[in-house]
Amino acid sequence: MEKKNTAQEEGASSYPSAAPLEFRNVVKQYPGSDTRAVDDLSFEVPAGEICVLVGPSGCGKTTAMRMVNRMIDITDGDILLDGKSVVDRNPPELRREIGYVIQQIGLFPHQTIAQNIATVPKLLGWDKDRIGTRVDELLDLVSLPNDMGSRYPGQLSGGQRQRIGVARALAADPPLMLMDEPFGAIDPINRERLQDEFLRLQAEIRKTIVFVTHDIDEAIKMGDRIAILREGGILAQYDTPDAILSRPADEFVAQFVGVDRGLKRLALSHLGEIELAASNGQPADTPRAKRDASLRDALSLMMASGHQQIVVVDDNDEAVGVASLELIAGVLKLPNGSVTAPKKKTASETGETAAP
């Protein structure tokens, strides 16, 4: 899985490839306004994790994200990147060390794709050869052909532009990425594909990521941790997706995640992760599902076929056990954390997540 990474040769910055981020009592109040846009926001994002900021419009999630790279000034409190305050930094220099992806992408229409990707390396004064090599690496990383480098943004599809936006943000191998509704302007089918693609990419690059969205389903899918904000920029809950779905902190969170939060929670775990019953001569017409099918899909399959059971099979279509309706319902009753611990990748593998 190890890919070449020209950006790490000399180190664009003194940062490791991912750095922890901490919000410490952060406040944003615009001049002339009585109310705060962000109010006493505190949370920590361990290195290499995706933290999703989610909430209704006007909850200050984008404002919170934009304070990290000083696009918006912090009124009070502090934000620490790798333990160092961002407040003392020269903003343009700080921003060159933080990847930045926005919904409308903002590719430079007058520059080729290669020039777009090379923006930050050029600002950092890399030599031509190193930039050229890095551009090719990044096009590979986002699964686009190298000859696309000579095209202009106007010649690309929306999905391709989005990938270039991510490649451009990753160019100098920043320890932190800020992503503001990066898939918000993409149609639902391609959005799902880009989300999956990005999660695979993240499993490889393991950046610390602050991801803003208004869509709770996207938050649950993308986040290692979710910060739910309410109007006035107040943190309602900061936890893993499973914990938020199983134990919403209050009525606001419960409403925001939706009455179907049980189903959403089932979507987080797979048949392969639960203890299955032994298979003993199920009727031939019992539906079958692979181990990597989600519990939600398994439930749906049972409902649709009118069965109370489902045969779980491995990649060779050999039965490995049986999941029943009671078994799946039981999963939701189990204390939080026992089922869905290794939701995706980074958290358990890097070992950097402290138990909640």
Binding site: N69, M71, P91, R95, Y100, I105, G106, T119, L123
Partner: protein, 240 residues
């Protein structure tokens, strides 16, 4: 030139023999144009070209400077736009005459007026070009760590270039056309042979000078189009 007011037939410099085309006051007597190229048309053309290049050059520099200033201090945009829009409505004949008491019957007077027109056109176009830079492009540039100066020179101005070039084309063609009027304040241009030809009712002279003005405008415009295509290959690159 008032001395040349003619009574009756065409007054032709008496170089002795003249062709039948000239004697018949033909619309386009090539032999006469060829014979008088060095004495009449070439100097007028060169002078016309100089007037144009200087006016557009100075006008461009001033317009760019003012547009960049107004780009930073937004409140300047409205008053400047108003002033230039007003300047542009003044008839050139009147503008030249208004300036004569101040700067005399000089090239300077002609240039002041022509620069004024260039400025009016270019300022509006540069401001529009800068305004049309998409907000998300500016935001991405800032978010990646470009300084304000880098954003201006690497992002905003290049993206505004098609609008700037469009302005340059309009300004250049306008100035080439208006420069003929500079003749009324005795400044040499292709307007000279046009006025003389009309006053003397000598068709070849004003037709040739008029055509030369048109050709000059077309060539200048063509060169600017080629320059624009070279400078902005991205503007034509669209998804097939």
């Amino acid at each position: 030139m008032h001395a040349m007011l003619a009574a009756g037939g065409p007054v032709i410099p008496s170089f002795g023999k003249s062709s039948s085309c000239v004697q018949d006051n033909g619309a386009f007597c090539f032999d006469w144009i060829r014979d008088n190229w060095d004495s009449t048309f070439q100097p007028a053309l060169i002078s016309h070209l100089k007037l144009t290049v200087i006016a557009v050059g100075i006008g461009f520099v001033l317009a760019l400077g003012l547009a960049l200033l107004a780009h930073q201090r937004r409140w300047l945009i409205t008053p400047l736009t108003l002033v230039f829009a007003t300047v542009f409505t003044i008839p050139s004949l009147a503008l030249f005459q208004v300036l004569v008491p101040i700067s005399g019957l000089t090239v300077l007077t002609a240039e002041i007026a022509l620069v004024g027109y260039t400025l009016s056109i270019l300022f509006a176009n540069i401001i529009t070009g800068l305004r049309e830079v998409p907000a998300e492009v500016r935001d991405a540039a800032r978010g990646m760590g470009l300084s304000d100066r880098q954003i201006l020179f690497r992002v905003e101005l290049p993206i505004a270039l098609p609008a700037v070039m469009a302005g340059l084309r309009i300004a250049t063609v306008t100035v080439i056309s208006l420069a003929t009027i500079a003749t009324v304040i005795t400044v040499q241009s292709l307007g000279g042979p046009i006025f003389e030809g009309i006053q003397n009712d000598f068709k070849t002279k004003y037709v040739a000078a008029g055509l030369l003005t048109v050709v000059l405008a077309l060539v200048a415009d063509g060169l600017l189009v080629i320059t624009q295509r070279r400078l902005t290959p991205w503007a034509r690159a669209r998804r097939a």
